[in-house]
């Protein structure tokens, strides 16, 4: 495995930009950017921690949308062609899920009109928005959490709660690396290719020497497969929530494997209100809440166990 640095990350994302937009981006510093948005007919925008900027026709970032470069159908089509390496059919499942993973661990979120087949989203057509979510590797992002996750009795089942874009995937990735470097056998079940961002069987991130990655497999199936095939001590997966994920998690925990996972939410109390999660929350021994208050990855709270009163409600 090799680690990408910021220089190559910038170059990586530029090569995935349509040529009609790339020319405006050569002088733009993307080091601190975390999202690049293309919305059909709307200004070309880049999100930084201090807010959104628009790219104008001189290739300069401005706060005002006036005079900014507008996204056309040709831009979106070309961007999709580059991202799918001219093979949309080969990325059909990923597109149906609403994203494409590209080299460097970046992900392109896709919005369009869903083509429904047998009651499920089969494809997205008339793509109207693309969101380049720029991945980053912050070594040490999970240091504070790691001290609580690794105890004398072993690793604790941990749930990371965070709103979108607050760094939960970065946190999971760093936890995997840190645990692996401390001799823990880690299995990553990466349904949406977010954590490891595997490309041709290789992750661009340092995930440690004792980490196995099962990429592109449903979490529920993947956890069982990982359990049977790789005998991990810890399974790390992202964004649980479906009943089958919870069932698979229960099986893994009952088999003696520890689970570290994440969920969208703003805090433990808010997540507890979701009826479908009441059972699963009881599995976890540690809860970590993240926010963007001081930038992505701000640790708001690390709590052992659920709030007492709410836990009783959950048990009921």
């Amino acid at each position: 495995m090799f680690t990408i640095n910021n220089d190559t990350m910038d170059k990586g994302i530029l090569s995935y930009m349509p040529s009609g937009l790339r020319k405006y981006m050569y002088s733009i510093n993307l080091d601190e950017a975390y999202e690049i948005h293309m919305r059909l007919g709307r200004p070309f925008s880049i999100y930084y921690s201090d807010g959104v900027y628009f790219v104008n026709s001189a290739g300069v970032l401005t706060r005002s949308a006036n005079g900014s470069v507008r996204i056309t159908r040709a831009h979106i089509d070309e961007a999709l062609e580059i991202a799918s390496r001219s093979s949309l059919y080969a990325r059909k499942n990923s597109i149906a899920e609403g994203f494409l993973t590209i080299e460097g661990g970046h992900r392109i979120g896709i919005c369009g009109t869903g083509v429904i087949k047998d009651g499920q989203v089969d494809f997205l057509k008339d793509i109207s928005s693309l969101n380049y979510r720029l991945s980053c590797e912050y070594r040490g992002a999970a240091d504070m959490l790691l001290k609580r996750v690794m105890t004398a009795n072993g690793v604790l089942n941990t749930l990371i709660i965070s709103p979108p874009g607050a760094g939960k995937t970065t946190m999971l990735r760093d936890l995997a690396r840190s645990l692996s470097h401390r001799g823990v056998k880690v299995g990553i079940v990466d349904e949406r290719s977010e954590i490891a961002a595997m490309c041709g069987g290789v992750s661009p991130f340092d995930l440690g020497d004792l980490t196995d990655v099962l990429d592109g497999v449903k979490k529920s199936d993947g956890m069982t497969m990982m359990l049977r095939s790789m005998a991990p001590e810890v399974i790390i997966t992202d964004e649980i929530g479906r009943p089958e994920d919870i069932a698979a998690m229960k099986t893994a925990i009952n088999s003696g494997v520890k689970i570290i996972t994440s969920i969208h939410g703003s805090g433990v109390e808010q997540v507890q209100k979701r009826a479908e999660l009441s059972e699963c929350l009881g599995f976890f021994e540690l809860f970590c809440t993240l926010s963007r208050r001081e930038g992505a990855g701000t640790v708001e709270e690390i709590r052992s166990g659920l709030p007492a009163a709410d836990k009783e409600d959950g048990d009921d």
Binding site: E81, S87, Y89
Partner: protein, 162 residues
């Protein structure tokens, strides 16, 4: 002596041109048949293996596909395919009509789901069938004509000059 050598050179050139034209009919037919077979392979790569176009093209032993594979990263499939067809057409003795049919493939290649890719490829294969039939007809009817015509013209010119 110089007159004899000159006459033989002109005669030889006529025979060569006749044979070359005759060979081009055969070559066109073979090229179209190869491309049609290659499209069947491409269909398999797409439908059953979900291979990306560049890899699929590299797995196919045909100059048009290999040429397109070289350019696909830089210029996208439509341009890469178009450039490849135009570049290889003279070498493969393809006519403008053949090229137009092949260029149609590039319009929709890669950028739809598997089902539509197969439909697109099948459509082009069917159109190529018509071109192959025409090429076979040309081979049967014009090959001998051009070979014989070249030789006879050469002999006639030599006789006239001597």
């Amino acid at each position: 002596m110089i007159k004899l050598i000159g006459s033989l050179m002109i005669g030889g050139a006529c025979v060569y041109l006749g044979l070359k034209r005759s060979m081009s009919f055969r070559k066109r037919q073979r090229s179209l048949e190869n491309i049609q077979n290659s499209l069947s392979l491409l269909e398999t790569e797409i439908a059953f293996r979900g291979t990306e176009l560049k890899s699929a093209f590299l797995n196919i032993d045909d100059p048009v596909f290999r040429e397109a594979a070289k350019a696909i990263d830089g210029s996208g499939i439509k341009n890469a395919w178009s450039k490849a067809v135009k570049k290889c057409a003279p070498k493969l003795c393809l006519t403008d009509g053949d090229c137009d049919t092949l260029l149609m493939l590039g319009q929709r290649l890669g950028m739809t789901d598997t089902e539509n890719q197969i439909k697109n490829i099948d459509g082009v294969k069917n159109m190529l069938d018509i071109h192959i039939k025409a090429a076979r007809y040309d081979t049967e009817h014009f090959c001998r004509l051009y070979t014989g015509g070249g030789v006879l013209t050469g002999v006639f010119i030599v006789l006239m000059l001597l």
